[in-house]
Amino acid sequence: MRKRILTAMMAGVLACSMLYGCGSSQEPSENSGGSASEENAEQAAAQGDGYEFIFVCPIVGMEYWNMCSDGIEQADNELGTSTQIVGPTDASTFTTEIANYMEAAISSQPDAIMGYSGLEVMGPLIDKATELGIPYLAIDSDAPDSSRFAYIGTDPYNAGYQSGEGMAELTGGTAKVAVLCSSLSSEKEMEEVEAFKDAVADYDIEILAMEETNGDLATAVTKMEALVSTYPEMTAVLGTSAYDVQAAAKVKEERGLDDLVLVGYDDQEETLNYIRDGIIGGVVVQDPYTMGYEGVRLLKEYLDNGSVEQEVYDTGTIFVTIDNVDSYRD
């Protein structure tokens, strides 16, 4: 039932985006860029390169993706392009819904598409876009076997490896670790976990269990509480998304588990406060702003020149601990 309704709704979205596509030949698209970007877009359109892009975002409205969108907006303003941001808003169902948004994005035939790509459903859709002559850039998570022309984002292996090295350093090389991840279906998270394992292979670090939290703080707290009850021998937790490590921190604080070492991802303000208070040991911080900014730049470069210099652009990560928490952004 739900699926059928979604299909009907997507048909609606599709129809709207087609109309939108027709209308846009007269006027530059209106999007979050505001009037400044519209003016720029108009100027650029006059010069003949007012490209229109679509960014298929996995969860619109999430802080991390807003940072990425800020980078996109900045690049749009500077380069005279315009990028429409579309995508699911619901973390619990985005893994399936994103395919519908991708379909709609292809149907509206933009000059190029960039999108979150690390889900099985995306591969064939990326190939479909390419076949229809719409270049596709993978952003934040890659689909290396698809026909995307390049990938920009954190190299998940490097990021995961860094989390493992950080864990080894913070625990002195001996730990029994539980892993909280937001989705077992996320190739990126799973690769990060694999890289973590590789990084700690030479140490006395063992993984006790892995639990899925659906990217929901309340679920993550429940899972963390259950982990604490189940594994008294646990000495460390790896949280592969922002809310996972925050949930671990909350339970650590509530239960007074002072010796538990927490390693996670992303630099939300609350996470940074936990690091300052010594509750979270360290987090691997990605750079979504640069992903968004460089993503738009790469799309334009590809359309202008027919190619880009590299196939993979690693925007890099920093391991943030109490030592650099107030200086790493500089």
Partner: protein, 318 residues
């Protein structure tokens, strides 16, 4: 003996059995299950989700449907957070603002469904998107934290080391059970759910009753969202995503009929107990994370199956 026989005939027993089985199995595999910390943690999550299931019981009982619960939960928590952090409102006013979100969405839902006669599923699917959209607009995807102590205390521990949310939820459950069973409104709601035409000819204002049920439901969802925000000391833009499904599943497991006319608050709460226990038990009995959803799905079907089987036998194989 008579008492036991009578107790066995109570509808709730049918769902209590799978819950107890689940507890016993978990305990045998992991003795840490019945520790007080673990039980308090479990009942704490039950208490918050139970509010939604009680709301769902009212809506289902009147023969209706609501899938906007999770978004209303998210919006109420977020609005209360923003009211405190950005608008500098005192704790009580912020909580009131959050509850008003419930009133507003209850009204909107009932207006769309009973005023414009849009099917309930579609109407509440629409408001689900709207409420989640408003969360994103007002929060810009940020999570809010650092609330006044008075607010966080509501999500914290109360008398005898038991979280306030458990007391609140218990109180709501008792009142709801009373309202549903012993008041004119409750009986009218059952009648409306059972057969709206008959109810109408009996002089019941069907629309009014249904509107009231939607408002009660949305206010309870808002309350749950506020309590969860206080408990986590964080308002998260994605909070409550998919929560409506947990709530609906819990209510149905608890014997609340999706076709209206019958509901039990105790049953709905036990249903929540099963859903929340599953989340905890899967970890505690060390079920591989990849298999957890499969197991949860099977247990849900078994729980409802056992209950249906028992009721069929009791009603003479009808």
């Amino acid at each position: 003996m008579k008492v036991i026989k009578k107790a066995m005939k109570m509808r709730e027993v049918g769902v209590l059995v799978p819950l107890l089985l689940l507890w016993i199995i978990t305990y045998f595999i992991n003795h840490a299950f019945f520790t007080s910390t673990n039980m308090i943690a479990l009942f704490r999550s039950v208490s918050i989700t139970a509010l939604g299931a009680i709301g769902a019981a009212f809506v289902f009982c009147g023969g209706m449907m609501d899938v906007s619960a999770g978004s209303v939960y998210g919006l109420a928590g977020m609005l209360a957070a923003i009211a405190m952090k950005d608008w500098g409102m005192p704790v009580a006013a912020a909580i009131l603002a959050g509850l008003l979100v419930g009133v507003a969405f209850g009204l909107v839902n009932s207006l769309i469904i009973n005023g414009f006669e849009v099917p309930a599923f579609i109407a509440t699917l629409g408001t689900q998107y709207i409420a989640r959209g408003i969360v994103n607009v007002i929060s810009e995807g940020r999570s809010y934290t650092g609330f006044p102590d008075g607010f966080n205390a509501i999500g914290g521990m109360g008398f005898f080391g038991i979280p306030w949310s458990i007391y609140i939820s218990l109180m709501v459950a008792v009142i709801a059970a009373y309202v549903l069973k012993y008041t004119v409104f409750g009986r009218s709601l059952m009648a409306v759910g059972g057969n709206p035409e008959t109810a109408r000819t009996c002089g019941i204002n069907v629309k009014l009753i249904r509107n009231a049920a939607y408002i009660i439901n949305a206010v309870l969802c808002a309350l749950a969202g506020i309590l969860s925000t206080a408990r986590l000391e964080t308002a998260q833009a994605a909070a409550g995503s998919g929560w409506e499904m947990t709530v609906i599943a819990a209510a149905i497991i608890g014997g609340v009929s999706m076709y209206g006319g019958s509901a039990t608050i105790l049953g709905a709460v036990i249903g929540v107990g099963i859903m929340e226990t599953l989340t905890v038990s899967m970890t505690m009995i060390k079920v591989n994370a990849y298999w957890q959803r499969v197991v949860i799905g099977i247990v849900i079907i078994l729980a409802v199956g056992m209950d249906t089987f028992k009721r069929k036998r009791m009603s003479g194989g009808k």
